[in-house]
């Protein structure tokens, strides 16, 4: 493997990942030796409003996909309203392609716990929940262990470090539903209901968990907070771009030499990421990729130099999402890839909204027909028409996300569809899969 050039290596910004190579960083003793809980001590001496302002000044934006400014979100929590406030961490990582939060919670769970305590202090919450994906069992083991250690050391519980601030933190395992990564569905699930999204407004900032003011933040967002408290807003902004500050964990998977987690300055390009990851696998040429998971429109080899920050990717017609960069080559079929993603959305649609529930069901069947060599030209119009009827017509973003790969693959790879329809590509699915398709 050739060594990346120095200017490319300089894009690496190990911040959230920096303890992962230290064995036992998940133990509180090791964590404390590596700056652990120093940010908490510093934060508890400050006024909560100053912490909110600090996070605003840092420009930190949500790491869960939408990129909403975190400080602004915290500032929306009404203060002095006499209601209990809640912090809920969204650790329900499940977007296809996304795999950054599980290693963080497995290798450095205390950074999340410390972030939770600081964020709760800032928004004046005395109860916090980490809603972790059910299947993430090893991350949950380490996280529960970290919470117990933090209680034992007086970082959680009553009168934390003599500050007078109380916080109870519960790690709550989900039970296998992608939709619970959507913040209002997550809140319903946490309240003991089926995980289905709520109509907004009202937003969780005023009517969240138990109809009280609630901040819902992603794991990466909250784990960033201790570093901002220690290093300051200016240091944080020394990474990333003007509107997308800080480091971001890019999760590279697929047809590349060295898939894995690469924490880089926001705004790095795929060309640079590929250089860091040793390039494509031998015999593979880049054909299409997702910048931030399967809910973000596909990009192609034309987009190698798009800056991967919130604005740059949006400018290229896609979404930065969770920076889950899935890389596919000329040996992969975009029609089949889209079909598999649609199977996912069909399975995971919670069923609340008809356009998403029915639309995905029927699109899966259209794809099966195309892939079994029995598609028609009209099917392509049917797909686009169905997407039109899903996009923007459901409560949450799941349906919108489902249409991303359909419309973008039809935009860039219509020929691949036509090759199936016109018999130039051998069918990928057998007739047996066609049962139920009309």
């Amino acid at each position: 493997m050739t060594t990346p050039r120095p200017e490319t290596l300089a894009k690496l910004t190990p911040v959230l990942t920096k303890r992962w190579l230290s064995p036992d960083a998940w133990r509180i003793g090791t964590y404390e030796k590596l700056d652990g809980y120093a940010a908490l001590r510093k934060a508890l001496k400050a006024h909560p409003d100053d912490l909110i302002q600090l996070v605003k000044d840092s420009g930190l934006r949500g790491r869960g996909g939408a990129g909403f400014p975190t400080g602004l979100k915290w500032g929306f929590i009404p203060q002095g309203d006499g209601k209990p406030h809640y912090l809920v961490v969204n650790a329900d990582e499940g977007e296809p392609g996304t795999c950054k939060d599980l290693p963080l919670m497995t290798h450095d769970p205390h950074s999340l716990v410390e972030g939770v305590i600081i964020a709760s202090y800032a928004i004046r919450a005395n109860r916090a929940y980490i809603y972790i994906r059910g299947e993430a069992v090893h991350a949950a083991r380490r996280l529960r262990n970290a919470v117990n250690e933090a209680y034992a050391k007086g970082y959680l519980g009553r009168n934390i470090l003599g500050s007078g601030f109380d916080l109870e933190l519960v790690v709550h395992s989900g039970a296998g539903a992608y939709i619970c990564g959507e913040e209002t569905a997550l809140l319903d699930s946490l309240e003991g209901f089926r995980g289905q999204p709520r109509l907004r407004p009202p937003f969780p900032a005023t009517h969240g968990l138990y109809a009280s003011p609630t901040v819902v933040n992603n794991v990466g967002t909250i784990a960033s907070v201790p570093y901002i408290v220690l290093g300051g807003a200016a240091w944080w902004k020394s990474m990333g771009t003007e509107k997308s500050s800080g480091p971001m964990i890019y999760s590279l998977s697929g047809r590349i030499a060295n898939p894995g987690q690469y924490e880089c300055s926001l705004g790095v390009t795929l060309r640079e990421l590929l250089e860091l990851a040793g390039g494509m696998q031998p015999g593979h040429n880049l054909k299409f990729w997702t910048p931030g998971g399967s809910s973000t429109p596909l990009l192609t080899a034309e987009h190698l130099d798009v800056p991967m920050d919130f604005e740059g990717v949006a400018g290229a017609g896609s979404i930065l999402g969770t920076t889950a960069t899935q890389i596919f080559s000329d040996q992969d079929c975009p029609v089949y890839a889209t079909y598999r993603w649609l199977e996912f959305y069909h399975h995971e649609s919670c069923g609340k909204c008809t356009p998403c529930r029915e639309g995905n069901y029927w699109m899966v069947r259209v794809y099966r027909r195309i892939l079994s060599g029995q598609g028609t030209h009209d099917d392509l119009d049917t797909l686009l028409d169905t997407c039109d009827n899903i996009l923007g017509r459901s409560f949450c973003g799941l349906g919108d996300g489902a249409t991303s790969s359909v419309t973008s693959s039809l935009k860039y790879f219509k020929q691949d569809y036509l090759d199936y329809i016109e018999g130039r590509t051998a069918p990928k699915l057998s007739d047996k899969q066609l049962v139920g398709a009309h």
Binding site: L54, P69, G75, V137, E191
Partner: protein, 347 residues
């Protein structure tokens, strides 16, 4: 009615679970309680549903509606070893589909089916959040990375022969029932299990590359003051809310296309209006429910609180639509339009 299937230990654990949540919000304990009954029976049986209902003062339909929504609650007896093969796009193109097909043929079972000896349940899973290790499968949710048909068959054969293969990054394997106790929120009490598992190389690649080349982020000073000197923090952060209005300020219908409006709601940025930002006093909802609201509703029974298909009180949507209409009509007008029966307030 009292269910007698469950042991005293399970009942004690149930009390411990309920105690984690605010006293008047015990329903939050439902998901962990469903994991708990699986830890004793291996699946969510009618008795398990009844037990959860009894503990939380719900009816069985309410519990059943929740249990049937989530994939990890099994509706039939399940093997000691749940083998889940990821067949979502990335693992699929890297070979996950062949792994699944081979296992299905080798075990003679299909999706969500258990071998005749009752040991192994096979399922194909959607993305397991380990794409950099693909194709992956899990046994009772602990990872086996980069599997091919041959290694996967080796793992299930070892399981059926009574062995316990070592997962790639997780803890030593435990049975599905033992795992369900952890999912209910209890620590893994096996000596050393938390320490098990070595970090996988893909997780470390970026960091290792940075370390090999001596790269770190310069300028990090842990003593940087929290308050920046030239920008003192305002006392009321609520002032930063972009609306500043005292009225519901989503002027709907507006000239924006539904797509644009949806896109803004889904992907808000600093410029996006937040209609219920604090300080705006938007009467979108009534006051927060008193702790007894839920109990009163429970006491009033089905007549006053008809369960909808999703186990939530019926009529939520009508309320929401009415509220939207009110908001649409009341541009600039503010008043007490809230209703204590609004969706948010009802729970």
């Amino acid at each position: 009615m009292t269910t007698t299937v469950f042991t005293d230990e399970t009942r004690a654990r149930a009390r411990e679970i309920v105690a984690r949540y605010p006293a008047d919000r015990s329903r939050s304990a439902l998901l962990p309680l469903l994991h708990l009954v699986q830890s004793e029976e291996g699946y969510v049986s009618p008795a398990g549903v009844a037990f959860c209902a009894e503990v939380l003062g719900l009816n069985k339909a309410q519990v059943g509606a929740v249990a049937s929504f989530y994939t990890m609650y099994k509706r039939r007896p399940t093997g000691d070893w749940l083998v889940s093969v990821c067949t979502n796009t990335m693992c699929n193109v890297l070979g996950g589909q062949e792994v699944y097909d081979t296992l299905a043929e080798h075990l003679g079972v299909g999706h969500d089916e258990t071998t005749a000896d009752g040991k192994v349940t096979l399922e194909h899973a959607e993305c397991l959040a380990a794409c950099d290790y693909g194709p992956v499968m899990t046994v009772n949710y602990d990872f086996f990375d980069g599997v091919d048909p041959q290694t996967a068959v080796g793992v299930v054969d070892e399981l059926r022969a009574g062995g316990r293969p070592t997962s790639s990054r997780g803890a030593r394997l435990c049975t599905l029932k033992e795992m369900a106790i952890q999912l209910a929120g209890f620590a893994d009490e096996r000596e050393g299990a938390v320490a098990d598992g070595v970090p996988g190389e893909p997780s470390l690649r970026g960091l290792r590359l940075a370390q090999e080349h001596g790269i770190s982020v310069p300028g990090f000073d842990p003593n940087t003051p929290i308050r920046s000197g030239d920008k003192p923090a305002p006392a009321t952060p609520a002032k930063a809310a972009p609306t500043g209005s005292t009225a519901p300020d989503v002027p709907a219908p507006d000239r924006k296309s539904p797509q644009l409006r949806t896109a803004e709601t889904r992907q808000p940025d600093a410029k996006t209006a937040v209609p219920d930002a604090p300080g705006t006093k938007v009467p979108v909802d009534g006051p927060a429910p008193g702790p007894r609201d839920a109990q009163t509703a429970e006491a009033a029974g089905v007549a006053a609180n008809k369960p909808a298909a999703d186990a939530k009180p019926a009529g939520d949507d009508a309320e929401a639509q009415e509220r939207n209409l009110r908001e649409a009509e009341s541009t600039g007008r503010s008043g007490d339009q809230g209703s204590a029966n609004d969706k948010g307030a009802q729970k």
